[in-house]
Structure formats: structure tokens, C-alpha cells
Amino acid sequence: MGKIRTRLGDGSFIELLEEEIYEDLVDGTQDAAQKGRIPPLSEDELRYLLDLYKSKARVVGVDEGHECCLSYDNMTSKIERAHISVSKFQQLQLFERALGADTLELAHIDYSYKQVKHVVIYDKPNMEQAVLLTIPPMLYGAMPNLGLYTYPDGPCPNPGDLLPQGKFDEAKEAYAQAIELAIKDMIFVGSELYEAGADGINFDTTGAAGDAEFYAALKAAETLKAKYPKMGIEMGMAGEFILGMHGEIEYEGVRLAGLYPHDQVKLAQKAGVTIFGPVVNTGTNESLPWNLARSVTFTKACSEASEIPLHANLGMGVGGVPLNIMPPLDALSRASKAHVELCRLDGL
């Protein structure tokens, strides 16, 4: 039997026998099932994934009836990163009219709430113009990025310095201070941009600094939702489980550290989030079949637990997509099709 060409999680090509691909699919789903304490994929679902890898098609797409929304985070930085000289408005129009985006996102190049609060006065008129020029829902996006509130970038002591010294209480106090400042910034920016015409706000890469950051984003979402009940709030995650950097923080009586996507979404929902973006990390030393089966297993459990729309993160190093700056299309399209069709996603 001939070998099938696929990739490792770092994007390099490998060739595997059909049975080796199937073994990797089984191992991937079992890994997710064991870590997340969720059901593994069924044999039918694994065979479906196997067929995706057996297909010689360079690019695959969803079957009729499975079409979904396409949203993009940090939209107005992506074209700039490709060194294409167009304005933010033109970028938004390109996404809307040429690239099939169903939601749009205005963002500042320095993509953190702490940084963007200083340019809110400039991005408010940008938002006013952007909503006049385009039709789809318009979000304003940035990252909670709690790390920016601690030394050397912020005013609070750095728990990363305190913890190794055994200063646990001081580290927790530092987190408490940073949380307070981050919540304040997220509410300020969210309020200002919503009042300037945004349909909603995106908390992107939430939880990158662990449980304290997830808590800050949940509290900010809760406050914004109470203040603006019709506001759309998207929350995209940073990793598949919440790192317990603090370890004891709870939201609504639930300890945040160690939560996997199917538990994260329940709290996001409670906080007033209207679109949730689960993330499953790609292991660069494992094959794409292993990674995809794993990602679909986590995302499917998240979809089943969710009562709000899910737009899963698929891109560089997440969602069974290789860790490449320009994700290869064979891998990205297979991951997209599998997630949408097996996890009943609302969007990507």
C-alpha cells in the first residue's frame, strides 16, 4: 500500500501508511479524551478524518449545508503584516468584499487593551467611519495581556519573579492588582468603542497569562454586558487549558485553573460572552492527523456544552494547523472542514 503525504505540526512533510494515520488519529483523540475527561471520537468520525487525509485534493471544503461564518481576529494588522500599503478602512473592505469575512474587526497595531486605551481617541473616529463604510457586524479587538501590567512593562510586581522565591502571597497580591487594572482598561476601551458605533468587542487570546487573566476578561465581559445589554462580546482563548499561574482564582464558584474548552465556554456564557473561540494547541512533534483528531475531540465537547455560537480558532499553531506563519492550505482546509462538520461550528 502506498504512503500518504501529510505533515508534522511544524509543517514539514512526512509520509505515513494508511494504518499509521489511523493509529495517530486514535492516539490523538484518546489524548484529548484523557486530558479533558471527555468522550473520544467515534470510529465513524475517525474514518471520516482518515478519508480527509487519503484525499489527493490539494484543498478541501465543507459539504453543502455546512457553510459557516468566517471571522478574523486582529483583522487590520494582518494585511499590514504582509507589507501591503492600504489603510485600515481599505483592509476592512478587502475582508468584507474580497475575502468573505462575515464579521469585521478594527484593531490597533499594538493589540493590547492597555496600549490601545491611549489611542482610543483616534480609534473612535476610525470606528465611526468603518461602520459607515461596511455592512457586517464590526468588532473592536485587542488582547487582555495581563503580563503588561507587571514589571518590566507595568506597575505591579511580577509574579514570575515572586513565585520562584516562594513569595506566594505577594504573587497573589500582584495578580490582584494587575487584574483590577486590566478590568478597568477593558471596560474603558470596550465602552468607548461601543459608543463610537462598534457592534461588539473581542477579547482575543484570553488567558495567555493564565487564570488571573481569564478572570479579568470574564469580569470585564460581565460589566460591559450589564452596561450595554445588546453589545456583542467575542472571547477567543489563548490555549487549550487555563494555566494555573495563580491557582486559586474562582469565577462563579468555579476554579479557573486547569479548565478545558468545554468548561471555559460555560463561564464565558455566564459572563455575557456572545461568541466563544476555543483554542487547541498544535504539538509540533506530532503528525497533523494526531493533532487534528485531538483538536476536533476538544472542540466537539466544547460545542456540545455551549449555548452560544462557537468560532473556533484555526490558524498558526492551533486547531490542528501547523505552526507556520503562513499556514499551508492543504492543512488549513482539512482542519477547517473537519472542525465545521464534526463539531457543528457556527464559525471559524
Binding site: 514570575g160 497569562a209 512533534n285
Partner: protein, 216 residues
Amino acid sequence: MVEKQQLFVEAKNSIVNQNKDKAVDLAKQGLDSGVSGIELLEKGFLPGISEVGELFGSGRLFLPELIVAGQTMEKVVEVINESLVGGEAKGDKGKVLIATVEGDVHDIGKTIVVSIFKANGFDVKDIGRDVPNQKILDEAEKFGADVIGTSALLTTTMVQQKNLEELLRKEGLREKYKTIVGGAPVTQRWAKRIGADAYAQDAGDGVKKLAEIRKD
């Protein structure tokens, strides 16, 4: 024999449960009853720290606990070291200098790596974040490092890992140190391309890779 097995189980649990006093007592008890320090480490305490790493990696144990488990392990190693003539195994697995590269202030992952490396018996010096390559070399010389580990979270800063390899070659120091690279955008392919000796996907993988490159 059963007692010895029980001792190993309790030793392992003392690390997993981050019980410093109990771990030290068990180490002393084992040594007093004639169990060798090496056996105590290999069959009792090291499987404990290995389980701690796995629990952390799957989100079942958190950073403060990881650090206390690491400190517990360090105490045990101290006790066992004292019992060994000439310092057999323990903290002499090698000296590792660790830094986050210049331009990068992300050090959450590095903090975890440092804890796990120390807990596994490596002598680790963490020189912080945003460290220029020349300073990394100077500190490695002062510390007498065997291995230099660098972390980069950004695609824009990972190039410093390549620059470090070039600096090592330019200074004629490339053969003196083993290098290990890690960080979110870093891959095995990147490590190979720049000429690093090893790539670590996470802290647990780092321990395995350190052991491998130290054997070479």
C-alpha cells in the same frame, strides 16, 4: 522488600503532594535503613517529580504547586547529596544557564522550565528576560554552564536564537556549550536550521532533551 516498595511509593507521593517535611523525613529514613541515595531518587522521588510535570502539563496541577514540588525535590536532593561520598548523582546533572532572548519579556514558560529543570537535578541559573546575546555568553562563562537554554515567544524575537548560535561560532565557543531552544513559535525544524543542539516543546520534553544532549 515490601517496606522498601512502600517507602518508594510514599517518597513519590510526598513530592506529588508537595510535602517538604515528609519528603525529607522519608529520605533520611531510607538512608538510615540502608537504601542507597541513588535508588531513593530513581525509584521514589524522581517518579514523583515526573508525575508533577505530567499533572502540570495536563492542567491538573498549577504553578505555585509546581514550584513547591520543585523546592521539595531540592530539599530531598540536599539530604541525599550529604550522604553521598563524592557527590554521586543528584544535582550534578549539569549546569544550565537560561534566558529569554533580547526584545522578549515573556517569561511565564521560562519560569516553569526553570522549576522543572531544578527539580530534576540540574543546576540552573536563570538570568531573566530581554537578555542580549553577549550577556548570555558572559554569564555562561561566569557560571561555567554546560548548556545554554533560550526562550522566545515571538516570531520577531526567535531570530535572536539564531544570532546566539552565530555569536557562539564567531567567538569560537560553539563546541564548549550545548544549546537548547524553546518558546511558542519555536520548532524542531527551527532548532535544526539554526544549528541548536536541541529543541524542547515544553518543560518535560526539555528534561528529556537535556539528558540526551548531555550524553552526547
